[in-house]
């Protein structure tokens, strides 16, 4: 029992786990107890063992995984070594990261029934539980829908309902909101809160981006290198170990970062809040004491005078006759701009990106790259100017070694053979991949694959780089590595075009943001202008600006400047 009198539902004793080909264990001796009715958040950098730990809770380790497990895990009184995964499934439900790869059925109702069918429940009992789960999760409107057409957030809801129907005491969620758009993230976070408070379900969640989840967390466990380094309630852990958390590589939510800057200056020393509303309230109440309203030097780079790298004139595109996805886009992209293209799902963002690179030809209108109409250019010529990074790096790697992968890109471009190995070595070095030269691309980690894909694109020094959803499947550390690379390129005069739904990325890196909705450009300007002047409109379109602009907007009546980043906030503190 913990001090609140909650029972222990998961007991972990001296847990060690080593993957088959590894020399060192990934989990190095974990001792833990998880208490009933609590929401426990597990954080840690990539490779710290979060997912592996969760897999020891639902029995995937040891039953479905090869590798050596030492120690014991007792879940709801059952020793996981002595009970198969299916036995444990009625005690502990599991939700995974990829919304697509965990739904088996074609229809929502069948998916929710799936677990119950496997356990042989009677129809009456099934119907009762299914209706209950649908009620709790709020799935009535889409109960009969086909799963493939659902949004990411809806799919995750279905997976949660499907686990819930088995009435487990505990649900573990491994990165449940990582791959979701901001609106879906909020949706799922609220749902999890309801499950905990209204149904008393114990939740154990592993996540990278916990800026919303932290507000509903009872306990936070920090893993690093396969060991528990911090464990306790969120407020204590964060405020007593801030620097250590940063050093480990944990990404601190922005509103907490702001509070940290405030405390660093000697203010709010007794304020231990980690809630967004409290941070906002504190700043509002103390604005004159802590902020230098006049000390504002906000950069707004205007590149509209420079050369045009790509121009779009009345661009229309339809896959099928008269079903237009792009409806008359007009825009000029200048050299040296760092552009973010944002828009709701289905707005045409990806389609637009594909027309830029020549994968799709315009149905009407024209695209010119450095003054040349793309109609007259073949793919090879276009790719001399533009590099394209796909969402999933696995889609664009196909050689047998890292070196071959790099060579392929250069040979196609008919680079002088003598220079090839020099270029390759330089680029690999720049991206920290030199050690992997002879390895097979697919044996690299996700982050390394993305860097390799970037390397193969950047080695020919394209003037323009297009990134399609750079955040998907990336942890923050790898993402910043990639983005900093782009920033360097941009500072040297390259044009970067980034398609994303991550507003924080927009605020941190872009100097121009284009909002596209239903195939039309709705807004086009600097992030500061777009977020500030059109805040409510963006909210309506489910394109919520990130924390710092949000706080700025909510304090606009107090003469608060329109900030984009946490470092700008730091600079205006007294």
């Amino acid at each position: 029992m913990n001090k609140l009198g909650h029972n222990i539902v998961i007991e972990v004793k001296n847990l060690k786990f080593t993957f088959p080909s590894a020399t060192e264990p990934i989990l190095k001796g974990i001792n833990l107890e998880i208490y009933s009715g609590e929401l426990t958040l597990i954080v840690g950098p990539t490779g710290s063992g979060k997912s592996t730990l969760l897999q020891t809770f639902n029995g995937i380790i040891p039953h479905l995984s090869s590798g050596k497990m030492e120690g014991e895990v007792i879940v709801d009184g059952l020793n996981t070594k002595e009970h198969e995964v299916y036995e444990l499934s009625s005690h502990i439900g599991s939700v995974f990261q990829d919304p697509d790869a965990q739904i088996f059925s074609i229809r929502v109702e069948d998916e929710i029934a799936f677990g119950l069918e496997n356990l042989g429940f009677s129809f009456e009992e099934m119907e009762k539980r299914i209706n209950q789960a649908v009620e709790w999760v709020g799935l009535k409107p889409i109960f009969k829908n086909i799963t493939i057409a659902l949004s990411g957030g809806q799919k995750q809801k279905v997976s949660i309902a499907s686990s819930l129907a088995m009435l487990p005491k505990i649900i573990i969620l491994d990165g449940p909101i990582t791959d979701l758009d901001p609106v879906s993230k909020q949706l799922i976070t609220s749902l999890l809160f309801d499950l905990k408070t209204k149904l008393g379900i114990t939740l154990v969640i592993a996540e990278h981006d916990f800026s919303k989840i932290i507000e509903i967390t009872d306990r936070i466990i920090v893993l690093n290198n396969g060991e528990v380094v911090l464990d306790g309630n969120p407020k204590d852990i964060i405020w007593n170990n801030y620097k250590e958390l940063e050093n480990i590589g944990i990404i601190i939510p922005q509103h907490i970062e702001l509070m940290h800057f405030i405390k660093e200056k000697g203010y709010a020393l007794k304020n231990n809040s980690i809630y967004y509303q409290d941070v906002l309230k504190y700043i509002r109440n103390n604005i004159n004491d802590i902020i230098n309203i006049n000390k504002i030097e906000l950069k707004n780079i205007d590149k509209y005078e420079d050369n045009i790298s790509i121009s779009f004139k009345d661009l229309w595109f339809a896959y099928r006759k008269n079903e237009y996805i792009l409806k008359g886009l007009n825009a000029n992209i200048h050299e040296g701009e760092f552009i973010a293209i944002i828009g709701p799902n289905g707005s045409g963002k990806s389609t637009w990106a594909k027309t830029m690179i020549g994968l799709l030809k315009p149905s009407k209108g024209e695209i010119k790259i450095y003054g040349k109409n793309t109609e007259n250019l073949d793919m090879n010529t276009i790719t001399k100017y533009i590099g394209f990074l796909f969402q999933n790096p696995g889609s664009q790697l196909f050689a047998n070694s890292v070196q071959e992968e790099m060579e392929f890109g250069l040979k196609i471009k008919e680079i002088d053979p003598k220079k090839i190995s020099v270029i390759i070595d330089e680029t690999l070095n720049l991206l920290g991949l030199s050690a992997y030269k002879k390895m097979h691309p697919f044996s690299l980690s996700r982050g390394e694959k993305k860097r390799l894909a970037a390397a193969s694109v950047l080695q020919t020094h394209p003037n323009i780089v297009v990134l399609d959803e750079p955040t998907t499947g990336q942890d923050r550390k790898n993402l910043f590595g990639l983005m900093n690379l782009m920033k360097n390129l941009n500072e040297k005069g390259g044009t970067i075009i980034m398609i994303t739904h991550d507003m924080q990325l927009v605020a941190e890196y872009a100097d121009r943001v284009i909002v596209i909705k239903d195939g039309k450009i709705e807004l086009d300007g600097s992030p500061r202008d777009v977020f500030y002047k059109h805040f409510e409109q963006l909210e309506e379109w489910n394109l919520s600006p990130p924390t710092v602009p949000r706080i700025s907007y909510e304090l606009k009546n107090y003469n608060f400047p329109m900030l984009l980043r946490t470092d700008e906030f730091q600079n205006i503190l007294k």
Binding site: I60, S89, Q102, I106, Y319, F388, N392, G394, Q396
Partner: protein, 282 residues
């Protein structure tokens, strides 16, 4: 060159399931029986006239089921390409591998020389016959798949005492197919951008080879994830499995059964009692 996204294509195909027509409402076992009977009757005929009659007898069901041709265009194209290449390459040139030496071989009658290959008309006719024989079950399967909810299908198979593991394989494949399709399109796009030449058959084949490895890895990864997810929902418990969906034989099913029985009787009568439909096909 893809026409629309893979996901959209799948959604359109699955939209056929949403319709509610008398054909949709048929018990999946009845539909499977219909397919079975058609296939058997098919086998007994070698005369294109009768095969065409069998083919045309299925058309009313397509109409009743209100299938939108556009939504099944990719599948139809695939079937058409497969059958055409079969007809051209196996049966029409210089005699067929299976039938050489028999009176059905393609070495009699009119021939045209196309370069080093000889295209023979009686062989071509044989090819047409085989094409029809194969298209009938293939097209009817397509009709059934686009009008039957996979969950109902699984229930039907279970009632026929087929172990769930087999239905599971079909359902799993159905589930993964759109994901595989989408991924292969992404990979081909990436190839084009990387400068891979896809013009011409040799380059196409090479490009497909390059596509296979990342595609397989990706598919295996997704199947593994799916596998873990279903195990976490007690799949493979060994317990007797129950089903959420129920099946009921209704009036429409009886009507269909009568049709199937009548059709089978008539066609078999024509074939075995009247002795028609197996003769030479010139």
């Amino acid at each position: 060159m893809h026409l629309i996204t893979a996901r959209q294509e799948m959604s359109e195909f699955l939209a056929n399931l949403e319709q509610d027509t008398p054909f949709h409402r048929l018990d999946p076992r009845v539909k499977m029986l219909y397919l079975f009977v058609l296939t058997i009757v098919n086998i007994f005929y070698l005369d294109s006239k009768f095969l065409l009659i069998i083919l045309f007898s299925t058309i009313p069901f397509w109409i009743i089921a209100r299938i939108k041709i556009r939504s099944i265009l990719p599948q139809l194209t695939g079937i058409a390409l497969f059958l055409l290449s079969l007809m051209i390459f196996i049966y029409s040139f210089s005699g067929s591998v299976l039938f050489s030496g028999s009176e059905y071989s393609g070495t009699e009658g009119l021939s045209i020389k196309i370069g080093p290959l000889i295209m023979n008309f009686s062989a071509a006719n044989l090819g047409l016959v085989q094409l029809l024989r194969m298209s009938i079950p293939m097209l009817t399967s397509l009709l059934i798949f686009s009008t039957t909810d996979p969950a109902m299908f699984a229930r039907g198979l279970d009632k026929l005492k087929i172990p769930f593991e087999i239905s599971f394989m079909f359902l799993g494949a159905l589930k993964l197919l759109p994901l595989i399709l989408e991924e292969s399109r992404n990979i081909t796009d990436a190839q084009r951008i990387r400068g891979v030449n896809t013009r011409g058959p040799i380059n196409r084949i090479r490009a497909t080879g390059m596509l296979l490895f990342p595609l397989i890895i990706n598919t295996l990864s997704k199947s593994r994830q799916l596998g873990m997810a279903v195990e976490c929902k007690a799949f493979g418990s060994g317990k007797h499995r129950s089903f959420y969906r129920e099946l009921k034989i209704r009036k429409g099913d009886y009507i269909m059964l009568i049709w199937i029985f009548t059709f089978a009787t008539v066609m078999l009568y024509i074939r075995f009692v009247l002795g028609m439909g197996w003769g030479r096909m010139m």
